[in-house]
Point group: D2
Chain length 373, copies 4
């Protein structure tokens, strides 16, 4: 896509470019074009914005709207033809890269009992968050993990992985999350189909949690040297229990309530090098204050109902709904129940922001921290 010729993005501010076109300059610009160059002052204000202005828009995807379409895909296309039956979230501002927000991809995948997708690997990092159904499992580099609702599982960059549902299970739906758009944009994505189409299970089933989910404990003979977590599955029951225990001893964050990050137990850092994840609890009646920060965020409602105000727009959500918060947009969350807690699963590109030195955060100062809607 070529820049519209002679759009100069002028700003009448000291320290900013403000050059008016002249015949001489227009001729000069034409010459520069022929040399595969341009005059910085014609684009400077465009490429040096005062603050991030995300091309993504806030979106809420209601599960009630999507569920039937997702299940219908099972009938519409075969796994052999489609690879995977997935309805992906297509942010109106990011359709060119098929992103749900920023550089994050997300989709809802459905699978019938007895089905097993073929194994592949790619440079993109991936995660799944189970929404419904029984018998789902994922195999990552020979480690098989059984999955239930609200379980969170990693399929990190470069690992062989495949998803299936056991014969005695039910139709399953889960949310996929990947950094495909980012890795494509960074021109670093590789894709390989497993030579045998499926991999062998070479470890005891659920060995990853049996080995790495101990509280404050790590196997003595560990030799893990990957950049991602050896704990590949984070189960819902202990996660919710941890949140409840933490909620009893903390005031929580004014912006996020009681939030815990899923971590790599080897390092205390994020679960993968490009994608972080968290589970947060909004206590009964809690309405957090607004802040904004760099980074792109995708939420799924794991429990309860409420609403979020994102960039001044209110989005009401209930269990299984998904919504996104683009970079540098103010957002605040509210639990609509006075008696039950609400829980939000979130994945994001915070590890990218932080390892590149680009994280910045700001609280809303006006109106006691609440956005007018």
């Amino acid at each position: 896509m070529k820049i519209a010729p002679r759009t100069n993005y002028r700003e009448d501010v000291v320290g900013r470019a403000n050059v008016e076109d002249t015949p001489e300059l227009l001729a000069y610009y034409d010459e520069l074009d022929t040399l595969k160059t341009g005059a910085l002052w014609t684009v400077a204000n465009k490429i040096e914005p005062w603050f991030p202005q995300s091309s993504s828009v806030p979106v809420l995807w209601r599960y009630n709207d999507l569920r039937d379409h997702v299940l219908r895909s099972i009938d519409l296309v075969s796994p052999e033809k489609a690879g995977r039956r997935v309805v992906y979230l297509n942010n109106p501002g990011r359709q060119d890269v098929a992103a749900a927000v920023g550089w994050l991809y997300s989709g809802l995948q459905a699978m019938n009992p007895g089905e097993l997708a073929s194994a592949h690997n790619h440079s993109a990092s991936a995660l799944r968050f189970i929404m419904e159904g029984s018998g789902a499992y994922t195999i990552v580099n020979g480690h098989k993990m059984t999955l239930g609702a609200n379980d969170f599982v990693l399929t990190p960059n470069g690992t062989w992985h495949e998803h299936g549902v056991s014969e005695d299970g039910s139709s399953c739906i889960w949310q996929d999350g990947l950094d495909i758009p980012l890795v494509n944009a960074l021109e670093a994505n590789f894709y390989t189909v497993h030579p045998d189409l499926n991999q062998a299970v070479t470890y005891a089933v659920d060995d990853s949690t049996a080995t790495w989910a101990g509280t404050g404990l790590m196997p003595g003979d560990d030799k893990w040297e990957h950049g991602y977590s050896p704990l590949l599955k984070y189960e819902w029951a202990p996660t919710y229990e941890a949140l409840c225990r933490y909620a009893r001893v903390t005031d929580g964050s004014p912006f996020d309530g009681v939030l815990m990050n899923y971590i790599n137990p080897k390092t205390g850092g994020p679960v993968m090098q490009t994608i972080g994840a968290s589970m947060q609890m909004l206590r009964p009646g809690e309405h957090t204050k607004a802040h904004r920060h760099t980074g792109s965020f995708i939420y799924q409602v794991a429990k309860g109902k409420g609403f979020s105000i994102i960039n001044g727009q209110r989005f009401d959500w209930q269990e299984r709904d998904i919504f996104c918060v683009p970079s540098w947009m103010f957002h605040e969350h509210a639990n609509a129940s006075q008696s039950e807690d609400a829980c939000l699963f979130c994945f994001n590109d915070l590890p990218v922001m932080k390892s590149l030195g680009l994280y910045r955060e700001e609280a809303l100062k006006e109106n006691d921290g609440h956005q007018p809607v």
Copy 2:
């Protein structure tokens, strides 16, 4: 930019999407559109490529072609109007983001004696590599650095910085390098004009090199805690001397000859969190073998003449020429002189590739490692 409707990117390969359109599916796709969603199998093969296919093209910018245009900018626009007089390198594949290659911006800036640009800061990281002229200087957070040809200076993300040329100097030209396109793409760029338009020099001139350029030594009372190097200027004379000394004791790399990375002396890591840099020497007559890797690279010829073969295309270069190597393209370098060494300055996004776990490298196996041209 919207995906052309119903472009299905089909591939007839096991494990890839290969779904033909049917009236029922087309209707289904239309319904998904209204829900801000899509069917993954219609885009899967597009967003999961087999290997990186850069949108950048290899380009050589000849200094002989550019120099007059750069100097002419001094007469054409005033610093007050233009901010900076810069001719930027506009890769034909990356004009939408004004990048020289990948997500890296580069431009040639000119300044007359006695001029001083206004101070600003931004989240993008920047560097300069001095091409010609005397009296140039840069001020970074109160540290003033005097600059000569082939000196390399950092203006890291978030620092106040400004460039000038002293009254008794001559017209100067240097190459700017920034990650503006990347930081914009990551929606994390902030820009601020210094409230006083210019900052005070609050340290002894060239204190950064006096403090941090000691060989194997570090100040005892150091409290540096930034993500970027406290050594902000890397002078040409000691750099070239270090290369010559290293050349005497190493065989060098088959792909790069005698290459040294500029480092942050606090950590041994890259100079900034998003941009790495190196200087490499091709010994008289040396012709390296071809390899390819992820990451985008911009070279300036600091000394000598020769050629590079990039993606099968030969580019002849001499001192001050600039060329780029896009991600995952094979490249090899040759020194055209049998008696003099040649030196290539390079900056790149390797720190991004490495901190995100996306670096991959491959040697050309055929033809004794040399590309047919």
Copy 3:
């Protein structure tokens, strides 16, 4: 203590000192003495041994022998006079520094219901492992932790800490472990009595486990910056459960059975900078192979009965017995039961060995890895 004059430690081996005394040399040695110097060759073979020869001896302390004496201390001395009623383990080879083995101190402390020791802090790092009784608690920097049998609690270097037993508890006995001898030897120990003699509890009781013992989770608003773990208590129930789960999916170590290290969840590293700890399970009938390594180790039998062979000597143990393994002595462990597992708690100075680059390990090659007794 002065070296016995003119002991020359001669060895008739090439590369070792082997100088016989002569009248001229003896006179020379006397002159060197007056200058606060000596001739290296008179001590070289002594100070450069071929391999570590620990001054500690292996010892087993039977709880049956010690328990009455420990309880008797409660009647013999008052907390006011004694500070703490502790019977410390006094290795015959380390009585000069009151160490149980190497540079590690250990003792058994008794306390009656309603008692509370005064608060202090010191540069030494400390831990407790609860042996019997109910109602014990520890307060560390305002965090109060309630304790039961086989719970493991940290009181890291520099923290205010105090131990007590609640009014409604019973007489308690626990094992203390500290690096007091090491920190004294390094001439870096400071000791302070709390100005108020006791500290306030400023957090919710057991907030440390509520916050940090989540499996694969970390609080989102964490600002911890100490060198030691924010998780200060490791409870027995989840520890044993983790061992049992891990045992189901691992072959274990040939030398240690199923061993897990207690870790700092912020880093995946040891719980404190100078002391590491582990819990290991010997499966029914398991008899490990012998190896030796640098570092000093103190074990307490948390569950079951069996024996260990240390440096060729067999030590039979049962629940609550304590034994030590000095540096570089071969050791192997055996569970005497064919039906029940046995568990060994251990603390050691491995973090010192590893951070100073001094860890070395060797398997016994002879006799299928078992020491003759």
Copy 4:
């Protein structure tokens, strides 16, 4: 050495042990003895001192006193018999471990032209600081380094190393520094004589500095993974130049003047895991203020003359004199010249203090920071 029986180290301070002997207690203590145990309150105040009380004493070793004795060793013993001809510094408080101060060993070694000691390795880390003579060299793991006065060279733990003087050199004297006492105390020392008695030189002479002494540069193809610096020699000329440059832009430290640490260029950290080193300049007439800190320090006067006040005692020094500062003793330094700078080389165990979390520092507050003498 056994603790004198029934020495109770009583202190009449709240929070400290203060138990008087009774016949019942004495009988109890005897019983504890038989169980290889003791009563903590009889030793608590001894093993938990209020602050570090070093067993080392401050000592100044005058080179004028030592030089003849060192050279005489060449005639008195052969290299074959003695291994090395070394006069070691024997701190009156540390003769039992042959330490110069704390857990650091130091000695002056002499060697004649054409001599070459046999190669060995040990777990202790070592360094040399050249005092006089020409032609000295050291070989470390195949890397040969040529040495001149005030050059500083590493022979890290576990490396094969040997020292020699070339045929065309002169008699050489250098200072050795090692952590032998520490590694012995930690029961982790291993010693091996090289199977061929001498090792081959397998790299270009002085390749270490040619590769690693570049200012702000690191070889691009580096694979170094040891815990110690790949830069094994730090030459005097660039060290002094770096100090002079730094002195022009810094106020220096009130306690140390212009001090720079020798660093590992791979990490910015200390040169070895157990021993740090620095060179500091006292400007003409400079008299620093007193502070104290944990850690043991050995200084050699590399240039100039002056005095230091250590623990209230004045020590006058000139070039080549050596002195030590024990842990937690106040010390201040003064340059006696009003026109020439003075330089102090120092090595110490700060890396141990810091990696174990034991570093503490305090300025003298009284008397404007100067000790009364």
